[in-house]
Each structure stands twice: as C-alpha cells, then as structure tokens.
Subunit: 454 residues, 2 copies
C-alpha cells in the first residue's frame, strides 16, 4: 500500500513569514494577520485541503544580524512585527473539526509550569489536536529582551531544552492518574485527591514543586515537533521528536537527514516509524508549465532582497552585508552559516553563491526549495521527495490565500487520485491520526517518566 | 441623566469558580469548561445581555491552606483543576462583536516581555476589547510551583507589580510611534525603522533590552483592572487601575471602598471618574419572592461546605480547620483573615461567625453577597448599590447557564426600562465604551511613560 503523504500548512502570526516583499502585491492578504477572520478563513481553507495541521512558526527577538541592525527586517516586515502564535489557535479551532495545530515555543518565553498549562488547555479545547514545536532560539536580541547578555551557547541550549521538555512531560504524564477525575455528581467528588501528586523537580535550570493544575487532556503530551539539524539538534530530535522538520534543497538532502534522525532514534531504542519527517516546501502552481513559470517570475519581481537577507543573516548568524551583493561567498563551509546553508550547497557543492543569489532564493523560497509546475508535475516531484525518505511536507505559502488555494484546488486532487493524500480525516486526536496511538509510547521519555500509582 | 450600570460576567476556566458543590446539580454545565462550545455559548449569552465584559479570574497554585492540604479543593473542584484563561478569549471573540474580555494574570506566570506581546495580540484580534486584571498572587503553593520557597511578602508583591506594569506600559506605549507602521505596498515599507525604539529597562526585579515585537494594537495598554483591598492594594489601584473590583457584603461597604480608591486616585492627580468600581455580586432570580427564596434554598442544599472552606482559607491565608465547625471565630479582627473578611463583619460588626457560617456564605455567595428576589426587587437593590457609590457589578453565577439566563432575561430588561442598562453597545474599543477615550490619559503612568519622538 502506498503510504499517504503528510502535510502541514506552514504559517506565522506576522506579515512576512518566508517570502519578503510578497505582501506588497495586490493579491496578498498577509497584512490582515491581526484579524480573526484572516485566521478563520485560513483554517477553513487548510482543512478543506485535508492537511494534517497548521504549523505555526514563531520567533522571539528581531532580525538584527544583517548590517548589525533591525532596519531591513522592520522595513520588509520580515517576521517583525510578530504576534503570539498560540492565541490564534482557539479561534481556528472553532471553525475546524480535525485540523491539528503545531505551535512553536521557545524556552525563553515561558516557564515550564506556565507552558504546561497552556498546552493542556489548548489540547482540551481542541479535543487533542495540539502539537508543540520545541525551539531553543537563535537570536541574541531575544536573550537581551529577556534580560540576558546573550543566548547560552548552542549545545547548552539543547541541555536546557532537554530539562524543559522532561519537566513538562512529568507535569503532563505523571501528576494526574488516569482515573483521578471522577466528576461524579452523586458523590460530589470531582477529583480524587489521592490520584494527584506533586512533581518535585530540582534541576540545573528549573525548579518546580507542585502538581499540574490542568486535568489530563486528550493527548496529555502534545505531539512533539522539532527542527534542529546540527549534531546536537538531531540527537535531541531522536530522543524527543515525533515529527521533525527538515530543510533541504533537493530530495536526497532531506532524505539523508531523515535517515540520520531515524538511525539515531533507533539507537535510542525507538522505532524509525515513530518519527515522521516533514520537508520544508513551497510551490508555484500553473495550468501549464509555462503559466507556472510566468507566475514564478511575476512573484520574483516582488521579492524584497534586503528583507530576504535580514532573515538569512538572522537564521545563520552571519552578517552578509560585509560581502558585496554579487561577490561569491567563498568561506561558506567554514563559518556559522554552514549548518544552515547545508541545504543549499549539498544540492550542488560546486555551486558558487553570492548574497544576491541567497536573497533571491530566500525571497521566494524562504529557507528552502520552490517547486514550479503543473499539478501533475508537482505531484510527481513531491513523490520523488517521499521516495527519498521523507514522510511529508511543511508547505509554506507564496501569496495568501491564492498560492495555497492553487495547491489545494490543483495539486491535492491529483495526490488524492493517486492515493497519496487523504480524502477525509481519520477519527481521533492528532497523534492518533498521525501514528495510530493516543499516547506517547516507551521508550520515549514522556512515556518512561510515568511512575506507577500505588 | 441616570448613569448606566456597568456589568461584567465573572467567570473562570474551571469547574467551581465561586460556588462549590453547585456543579453536582443536573441543571449545571460548568463541568463542560474544557469544551469550546461551552465558551462560545457563554459569550453569546453574555453579549445578548449587553454586559460590558467577561471578567476571567485565574489562580496559580492550589488551595492547600485548609487542613494544610489540597484535598478539599480537589474533591470539590474548587478552582482546581484550572485551565489557562487567556486561551478561551480568541474563541469567544469569534462569536461576539462588542463584548470585552478582562483577563487575570499573576506576575509569577509570565515574564513581562512575553506578557506584553500576549496582550497586544489579543487586543489586535479583538479589535481593542481586552482588559488586564493585575494580580500579585496569594498562594504559597504558586510560589513553590515556580521554584520559590514562598511568595514575597505582601507589600513587596505590590512593588514588583508596580515595576511589572510600568515595564509593560513602556512596551505598549513608548516603543512604537503612532506612525511607525506604514504598510505601504507602493514603497514596500511596512514599518519605518526610525519610528521603533528599544525599551531599556534595568529594574530591581526585571531587565528588558529590546523593542516591543507587536505593532501598536487598538488600545495599546489594555483596560487595567485591579482588586487589592489593603492599604497598599488601594494605593496601587489608585495609581494604575481604570476598573477596580471590590467585595462588600453591603452597599455601604463597597461604597466606602469606592470612595477610598477615588480619593487616593485624586490625590495621585487623576479624576475620580477615571476609576470605575465594580462590586462583586451574585443573584438568585424568581418570578415571585417566594419562588426566588425556594430557588436559593434549593441551591443551598448543594453547597459543598469543605470546598467553600478550602476557598476561604486560601483567600484569607487562615486555616479554619483548627476551629470547630460551629465554634464562633473570636479572633477574626486580629489575624490575616481580617483584610479579606472585612466585607463580612463591616455589615454588622457585632455578628458572630462560625466556620460553618462562612462556608455557607461562601458556598452560595462565593466571596461576597447574594441578592434574592424578583427582577424588580433585584433591580431596586442593585440601584441601592449604585447609590452607595459603585459603578457596576462583577456578576458571578450560581448554576450555568440557567442562573445567568435568569438574570439576563429577567433583571436586565427591568434595568434597561429604567434607563440603568444599555440596550445596545456603543461603538469603539472597551476603553471607549467604558470611559469615552481610546488611550490611557495622563497622569496615568501608562500615559506619562510616553517619551517624545524626534
């Protein structure tokens, strides 16, 4: 049997998520991100397309690496201003029944005790449709906003994330017994106090003494997303993630990453299929190939080069303003940008990149590839990606809603007719829909943290 | 002209907000607090009643003062379990157009940088319908949950709140100029970077270096609610609050409090009418006085005495389990319960109270009075409260939705026919509806923190 492709719609509570400049077009509505109706329409559209989830990115801080200031980011609305992602979920949940919602949250933002309750609340309100994208942060401006001098160094950030997640697991999984809530009108007992216990955690970074204050939600632990591509990042993913997000310019780049994570997961005692790999993707759809290419060229005209560089420099930590726009970047393999730009060069290691190339690539592609073609051509290409080893896609948009509508009305039916996409949703929570089981299973740390009840 | 009464519907994201035991009744639906539809139905009902806002209480920690443990609270679902209050607002906003939403947030829960963005996001999504109830916390169990040994002492909590609020004001009011957002498709400029500036705050309790990451929302600073009744609490209210919440057993108790706060506000340079005072209220409505009394007696049958004591002991900090149920509490004027129970004794200083009396009073009344009668009788009594000096009410429910429907279908029309309640909403944001102006005005600290732009 052909396995179905998984799809998340990749989105962010801001104007410019991945394509700086496109907001200036008459056919784009992303400047409406502050309006409830914008989110309701978006959710309805994505659920009409039978996507698994909306995956909400987030960032703390502003993109101030390029040129050493945030001017380009502000001017182009490149992920700044950015509103809270969690707060659009309850609204979107009111107009959908099955769509999942993955939300990005950086450890800096919330104390785990606060965060655990937020996730439980969302999981209750959506009847188990919530995922959490664990993020360690990458902008020093974020650290300064929270009163630190700079972010902890890279590997230490994962050490903190490990403690943060493990603490949340204990609140979600180990504090309330399955039968703690009786809600028995006759006896007047809502909760059996003997079935609720404290989490006593005195860690290196966090300290919590108390019980979880939310009763168990349908999934307890939300579906766990993660996106680290470094060695430490894939270690973390192999241990914690159920869904991982990868950026690769070509199928084999993403596929290699998927294999690495699965191998590490297996080494950690999990099964390879316990991890679903989503590749970053963006598409431009046309009725003919020529029309699709015209559309692409037309979109390309609107790209904001400065905005694209602001994003890329923030992601990579490298200030490309020190390189002339058309000068080849020769030292790409030797500095911080390497990890991030691996996806570019791995596709063709001999290729020379200039800041302008990167900006253009980012402008329309954001952090990853753009596929251009007819619905059939795109379906073929997406199948190539799946064949290379990924399970599905985090689909970013070009213009909204048109770019996404083109995909949903054009490509989705083709994939459905090939048996590659679901025509309707399966019942159950997000985890049940993705993996067939309701709760995180051993040896995942969210499962093994459950102590027996007397 | 008769001034209209203000009404908030007082609610909490949990089973038992103010009346332990009533959830066990067949006509009560509060156990549905985890469902989106429960909140949508609730919001529609409250807006049908032309209330100004839903006022969402919250608590961090569990009620473990009574008997030195949380057993009674858990058994009766007395504010435990409790879900996040902020996350039900976007859902309620989708089915209402005018209703405001006041949300309680304790300083322990969120770093101000995180919190400021959450409020801005909500204010955007609701087009300016948001209020913030500034809370300092009162349960040591909350402090332990966040890794502290105990809460800071009472006056220091207000010192922290003062810094917390002032820092939020700067993020909301002083970081983005009024004309910072251009959203100009032609020039491609979304934000003018020269009109966004950092907040550099190195305070005693918080440190923030960065700009606010949300663009200015309709109200910028949400409408500010506060509920402290101590000397330090009323000082804080006089300086910060636009709406204050008071609990008094009799009109003159609440009226005295209102006068105190207004006098202090005037001493701080504000106008008395800059502060709207809401009295805690609960009603039982009947077609006849006899029917109302029967209803009250019937509700009273369902009161959970232990749950009521769990709440009262948590609020007051005094463990009443050390006093026999029917033993008069003689030392009420000399300990911590005094501040809180002022509302009881001030109505009749000679009255003797036993734990059982308190529990019964709390059980049906929660923290305050219950009025029982026909719509006309209740309207008369509410007018007496207004005459004593308050501006409106935070109306808690008995059973939901019935208790609230009785009020909205019975008492509201009487108040409307007397010109005492609005029949339809005024246009504008919550602050415009309540006070006639869009932004906080000098000498309020949220206004005076605005530095000029070059």
């Amino acid at each position: 049997m052909t396995r179905r492709m998984l799809f998340n719609a990749f989105q962010m509570n801001c104007v410019t998520h991945q394509s700086p400049g496109l907001w200036t077009r008459d056919d784009d509505q992303t400047t409406r991100y502050k309006e409830l109706d914008y989110w309701l329409d978006y959710a309805r559209l994505v659920e009409r397309g039978c996507f698994d989830a909306v995956f909400l990115a987030d960032v703390v801080g502003t993109y101030d690496v390029y040129g050493g200031n945030r001017e380009a980011a502000l001017r182009s609305a490149a992920q700044t201003p950015v509103n809270d992602p969690m707060l659009v979920i309850p609204a979107m949940a009111t107009v959908t029944r099955h769509l999942g919602f993955g939300v990005t949250s950086a450890m800096l933002q919330y104390h785990p005790y606060t965060f655990a309750r937020q996730m439980s609340t969302l999981d209750h309100l959506t009847k188990g449709r919530i995922g959490w994208n664990v993020v360690t942060g990458y902008l020093d401006s974020a650290a300064r906003a929270y009163g630190l001098e700079a972010l902890p160094e890279h590997d230490q950030r994962y050490e903190i994330a490990d403690e943060y997640a493990s603490l949340c697991y204990r609140l979600w999984e180990d504090s309330w017994a399955e039968d703690a809530v009786r809600a028995d009108r006759k006896s007047g007992v809502y909760t059996d106090p003997s079935r609720v216990r404290d989490i006593d955690h005195d860690g290196r970074y966090y300290r919590v003494h108390g019980c979880h204050v939310s009763e168990p939600s349908p999934q307890r632990t939300p579906v766990l997303f993660q996106a680290g591509s470094s060695a430490r990042g894939t270690d973390f993913a192999a241990r914690h993630a159920e869904c991982v997000f990868v950026i690769g310019s070509k199928p084999h780049v993403a596929g290699d990453y998927a294999r690495t994570v699965r191998e590490k997961a297996v080494a950690a005692g999990r099964r390879g299929e316990d991890v679903a790999v989503f590749a970053y993707m963006k598409v431009v759809v046309g009725g003919t190939e020529a029309e699709a290419k015209r559309k692409y060229d037309d979109l390309f005209e609107s790209v904001d080069i400065d905005g694209a560089l602001a994003l890329m420099c923030g992601w990579s930590g490298m200030d490309l303003s020190t390189v002339a726009m058309d000068q080849p970047i020769e030292y790409i393999e030797t500095n911080a940008i390497r990890t991030f730009l691996h996806s570019f060069t791995a596709g063709d290691p001999s290729r020379v990149w200039t800041p302008r190339d990167i900006a253009r690539y980012c402008g329309i592609g954001g952090a990853g590839p753009v596929l251009v073609g007819t619905p059939e051509q795109l379906a073929d290409q997406l199948e190539d990606w799946i064949a290379a080893g990924v399970d599905g896609f985090n689909l970013a948009h070009t213009v909204l809603p048109g770019g996404l509508e083109d995909f949903i009305d054009g490509v989705v039916p083709v994939l459905q007719s090939r048996g590659r996409m679901q025509r309707e949703y399966q019942p159950g929570t997000l985890r049940e829909k993705l993996f067939g089981h309701a709760r995180v299973q051993a040896p995942h740390p969210a499962a093994t943290c459950r102590r027996p009840w007397g």
